[in-house]
């Protein structure tokens, strides 16, 4: 349910009903197949004579492996191969940022669910039974599960327990404000919970190589990791991206892809794997559980003077993307506010908890929860409205981040806040008509209108766009025109974020060709990098635009020369080429005359720096901002919370596809709602509890609020292609803090922990 008030979406640029080009709601090509259930996902793959894989995973979060005996498993009828660490021909260690993770655990197990061995058999049940028949003798070790104790604990890994420490120093440490508030905040472990569990097919090649058909979101990185592990040259491993059933970050668990390839190479047969739901929860990366201690100083008018923070990210057993998450957490620790003095200590530490990694908005989300909690505390202490204190401190273009970087992109934070603050509030339900009132607690009959309190809360969030701290953010795309049709070749993975639709829109816009195909990505194409942080809109969209423009020049150049006018005076639309004065009019097809035109281009944004040892540096290419006002109803006796409405104002640079944009915002705020109210993968003493979609509750349609997009600020970011900003992550980052703020307003309780448990929203009767 979404309402866009304000500027109406731009109409199609062409006559006719089909939306076309940039700024219109061109529908996604796979939407129909996905709704009808015919879209092929990785789990639907099939090859003649395939074998089935199963992975044996550790039941312990921390243990020494004394012995692995695969003899019984290997002897089972139907079993074709068993692989352990001894069967890894190449690098035994891998990792997305740091190679600190074994393909198969062999001496030490560091988290519950870590892969130890894998089996290929002619039937999935046989494979599973055989995996269970592998004998592993463990010496169970005491797990380190409290990140605060990781500093002093015995090293869990040869690299030590401290993955990264960033001490950010900005301004005068002696500065003090007239008003000081302190807070301790905790954010739980959100699982990306992709509805399609991990799956894949590995097919050996006659040349000794292997092809991996997986739902990768970063095919080239996955190929390189796989090739290193298999001991093959990169050109002997091909990753083919199959339908991605939802991605929230680094989608795939290498613990699946690597065993799959090893088994295919060993047996010479295609091998298929489909993770069980439980394995999916155990294997992939989660959002970092985080502990945050804050002290905010303000003057008597509520202007921020100093922010001091300690941020502790629980990385789990391996580094993965923790360093990136920490950089974001530290840099955005004070939020989109102007603060003259900021001092942050940030750590990412190793524990035996489930692995953490890149999940949309990592780092930025956790701090948003904390700094917005602090803003509410300051408002209460100063007797200011929560929206007012925020308004007095908003960041703008030209201000400094605590990292010393100047904000050069549009930063319409105040405008966003004003838009949500001034939007009409949703009406209160008619007290007499209970049927019109979906009470907190839903349709289960427990709700009682008399016990319901309504609250309104605010949050401002920010994220960085593209990889930070010197990541080489490059993408390459090829555009081909032939026979009145254009084809885009770009290894940017469509994860549901809408890249293929955007690529079609760009080519339609630049070349005036209606029929645009986007080929499925694989690693034979040049790399485009990961599908994350909105980077494909920027770098891959930018590369597609450049390539399309090069083709356009090739089409028009001969014509321009012939008629003695410059290319700029010609325009293409709807397959027709016309000159500015209307004298020349021909079609693209006629001009091409059967010729095929190709162009390949790259997009590489300006470089960034790594944060130095005081947390300073120009680490980010771009920033995106969002303001959310949450309205909640709380049953103050049962502690049940229903989010009635989320009003969103977002800084988007430019609207490329209004419908997709609205869908991204709705999806984002709902994911944030999940974290705010229910999603927390519990792992007491390192053992994951209830790894199922019954045990791990996700928001359903009844939980989802009305999402009202009250304003989309279109202030173009001049350095970004099309001036567009990434849109998916910042609503996820902001909505949990807004919901917490609204629950605070409804109950007067501090609400310092996410998800908000019912006991935190109960108002005890006055004794």
């Amino acid at each position: 349910m979404s309402v866009i008030d304000g500027s109406a979406p731009a109409a199609g640029t062409l006559a006719g009903d089909t939306p076309h080009g940039i700024g219109t709601s061109v529908p996604s090509t796979d939407a129909l197949a996905k709704t009808q259930g015919t879209y092929p996902y990785a789990a639907d793959l099939w090859a003649e004579g395939l074998l089935w894989a199963a992975v044996l995973r550790s039941p312990h979060p921390h243990a020494r492996i004394l012995r692995i005996d695969t003899a019984d498993a290997a002897a089972m009828p139907g079993v074709r191969a068993v692989v352990t660490h001894e069967d890894v021909p190449g690098d035994a260690m891998h990792g997305r940022r740091v190679a600190d993770r074994p393909v198969f655990a062999h001496d030490i197990v560091r988290h519950h669910g870590e892969p130890i061995a894998a089996v290929a058999a002619d039937h999935p049940d046989t494979a599973r039974l055989a995996a269970a028949a592998i004998l592993v003798e463990y010496e169970v070790l005491e797990p380190v599960t409290d990140p605060e104790k990781a500093f002093a604990a015995e090293p869990l890994h040869p690299d030590g327990n401290l993955i990264r420490h960033i001490p950010l120093r900005f301004g005068d440490p002696e500065a003090v404000g007239e008003v000081i508030v302190e807070g301790l905040y905790r954010v739980g472990r959100q699982d990306p919970a992709p509805i399609g569990a991990e799956a894949g097919l590995a097919v050996p090649r006659p040349d000794g190589g292997v092809e991996l058909y997986v739902a990768s979101t970063d095919p080239h990185a996955d190929r390189d990791i796989a090739a290193a592990c298999f001991g093959l040259e990169a050109d002997h491993v091909k990753v083919v991206v199959t339908g991605v059933p939802g991605a929230m970050g680094d989608r795939e668990d290498s613990g699946v892809q690597l065993p799959l390839g090893l088994l295919a190479l060993k047996t010479g047969c295609p091998v298929k794997f489909v993770a069980t739901r439980e394995e999916s929860f155990l294997g992939h990366a989660h959002r970092h559980p985080t502990l945050l201690r804050y002290r905010h100083h303000a003057d008597a008018e509520g202007r921020l003077v100093k922010v001091e923070a300690q941020i502790l990210l629980d990385a789990g057993a391996y580094a993965d993307a923790s360093s990136d998450a920490l950089a974001a957490a530290v840099a955005f620790a004070a939020g989109p506010y102007v603060v003259p003095h900021v001092f942050v200590e940030g750590w990412a530490v190793r524990t035996n908890n489930p692995p953490s990694g890149h999940v949309r908005g990592e780092g930025a989300l956790q701090v948003c929860t904390a700094y917005e909690g602090q803003m509410d505390k300051l408002a209460a202490k100063l007797g200011l409205e929560p929206a007012e204190i925020r308004m007095r401190n908003v960041l703008s273009t030209g201000d400094l981040l605590p990292t010393g970087q100047t904000v050069t992109c549009p930063a319409p934070v105040g405008e966003l806040l004003k838009a949500v603050r001034d939007a009409d509030l949703p009406p209160l339900p008619d007290g007499d008509d209970e049927s019109q009132w979906l009470l907190p607690g839903g349709t289960s009959g427990a709700g009682e209108p008399g016990a319901v309190r309504r609250g309104v809360g605010y949050a401002l969030g920010m994220v960085h766009v593209l990889g930070a701290e010197g990541t080489d953010e490059v993408s390459t795309a090829t555009v081909r025109v032939h026979d009145g049709r254009a084809t885009v070749i770009c290894a940017a993975v469509e994860t549901g974020q809408g890249f293929t639709t955007l690529a079609r829109q760009i080519v339609q816009e630049v070349l005036g060709v209606e029929d645009v195909r986007v080929l499925a990505p694989d690693t034979d194409q040049p790399p485009a990098g990961p599908s994350a942080r909105g980077r494909h809109t920027w770098v891959s969209g930018g590369a597609v635009e450049r390539a399309a423009k090069m083709v356009r020049t090739q089409v028009l150049q001969p014509l321009a020369a012939k008629f003695g006018m410059s290319v700029e005076l010609l325009s293409i639309a709807d397959g027709k080429i016309t000159s500015y004065d209307g004298v020349l009019s021909t079609t693209v097809a006629e001009t091409l005359d059967g010729k095929e035109l190709w162009a390949t281009a790259q997009c590489r944004p300006h470089p960034t720096d790594r944060l130095d040892d005081t947390g300073q540096g120009d680490a980010f290419v771009g920033l995106a901002f969002c303001a959310i006002r949450a309205v909640v109803d709380v049953d103050i006796e049962l502690g049940a919370v229903r989010v009635v409405e989320l009003a969103v104002a977002q800084d988007v640079g430019r609207i490329l596809n209004p419908r997709q944009l609205a869908a991204r915002i709705e999806a984002g705020v709902t994911q944030g709602l999940g974290l705010a109210l229910m999603e927390d993968l519990r792992a007491p003493r390192g053992v994951v509890k209830r790894p199922s979609l019954t045990g791990y509750a996700l928001p359903t349609a009844l939980d989802a609020p009305d999402v009202r997009i009250v304003k989309l600020v279109e202030e173009r970011d001049v350095v970004a292609p099309f001036g567009a900003k990434a849109v998916s992550a910042v609503p996820v980052v902001t909505s949990p803090a807004a919901i917490a703020s609204a629950v605070r307003a409804a109950t007067g309780r501090p609400v310092s922990r996410l998800p908000i448990r019912p006991q935190a929203a109960i108002v005890k009767p006055q004794a």
Partner: protein
């Protein structure tokens, strides 16, 4: 080479009467009955259960509806939650209809049955506290003669289903008085009960009967609290109660279901659960008698 599990289709029997179903189970003692499959198939899919054969109960018309018998309703075990949630059924047994309406998302309610809910006997089974409060009994059909036992005997395992036996009917007294079912889930969307309370007023026996679900393995009956509150009611008059009495009842029920442990402080989770049960019981009584 075979790559797919041999489909168990040939091992599925679909009898069209109770007698046939009982005969089919007798013929194949390893067969498992399946109604809506919403509990059973989840176990099969999770690899926890590999039934050698299935006897599907979905085509047995005689257990998919209800009939009246001596002031009671005889409900077929194959009634779905969706059917029980409809207004005609709600007029008959309001608390059971409310429980059925809250038992999972619509897809599950369309398939899941009363019989399956009882036989699964999950602590969070939503129909169970209602049946306990109504003092329902179950009719079991088996190779021997049919037998009828109180539902509580089945749920507590005091008198379990015997091999080859099917749950055929549930007998429920029709009380013609207010009854309520309230369930706390901690969320707005569908969810399993954290705690639930069923409360029925029985004017003929001058009783208020209450059962609390999800806080223990089986629904709990706070008998003393029931008797105490029944004693406060003017059965021949208005049958209303003051809010203070409802509050006291809530506390009474909660303390009975989540008792103090001598010498130890109640852990925070138990305190929270007690608070929830107290609020639900108070609200349930208030709605029935306010």
């Amino acid at each position: 080479m075979s790559t797919y599990a041999q489909q168990t289709a040939e091992n599925v029997t679909l009898p069209s009467s109770l007698d046939e179903a009982v005969a089919a189970l007798a013929a194949m003692p390893s067969a498992v009955p399946v109604a809506g499959g919403t509990d059973l198939m989840a176990s099969v899919n999770a690899g926890l259960l590999r039934p050698a054969a299935l006897v599907g109960l979905g085509r047995i018309a005689e257990i998919r509806g209800w009939q009246y018998a001596d002031g009671a309703a005889l409900l077929g075990a194959g009634l779905t939650h969706a059917r029980m949630g409809r207004p005609d059924f709600a007029a008959l047994i309001p608390a059971l209809a409310a429980a059925a309406r809250s038992a999972g998302p619509p897809q599950i309610r369309n398939a899941g049955t009363l019989g399956g809910n009882i036989v699964s006997a999950a602590p969070t089974g939503d129909s169970l506290p209602v049946l306990a409060a109504l003092e329902a009994s179950v009719v079991l059909a088996g190779p021997e003669a049919d037998r009828e036992i109180p539902v509580s005997h089945l749920l507590t395992g005091m008198d379990p289903l015997r091999p080859g036996e099917l749950l055929a009917f549930v007998r429920i007294p029709l009380l013609h008085a207010p009854q309520t079912f309230l369930k706390a889930t901690g969320r707005t969307g569908p969810g399993r009960a954290v705690a639930s309370v069923a409360l029925v007023v029985d004017p003929a026996r001058r009783q208020v009967r209450c059962a609390v679900g999800a806080v223990a393995q089986v629904p709990l009956r706070p008998l003393e609290a029931e008797q105490w509150v029944a004693g406060l009611i003017d059965w021949d008059g208005e049958r209303t109660l003051a809010p203070e009495a409802c509050t006291a009842f809530g506390e009474y029920v909660a303390a009975a279901c989540i008792p103090d442990q001598p010498g130890v402080e109640l852990p925070p989770a138990a305190v929270q659960l007690r608070r929830t049960v107290a609020a639900l019981s108070r609200r349930a009584l208030g709605r029935a008698l306010a």
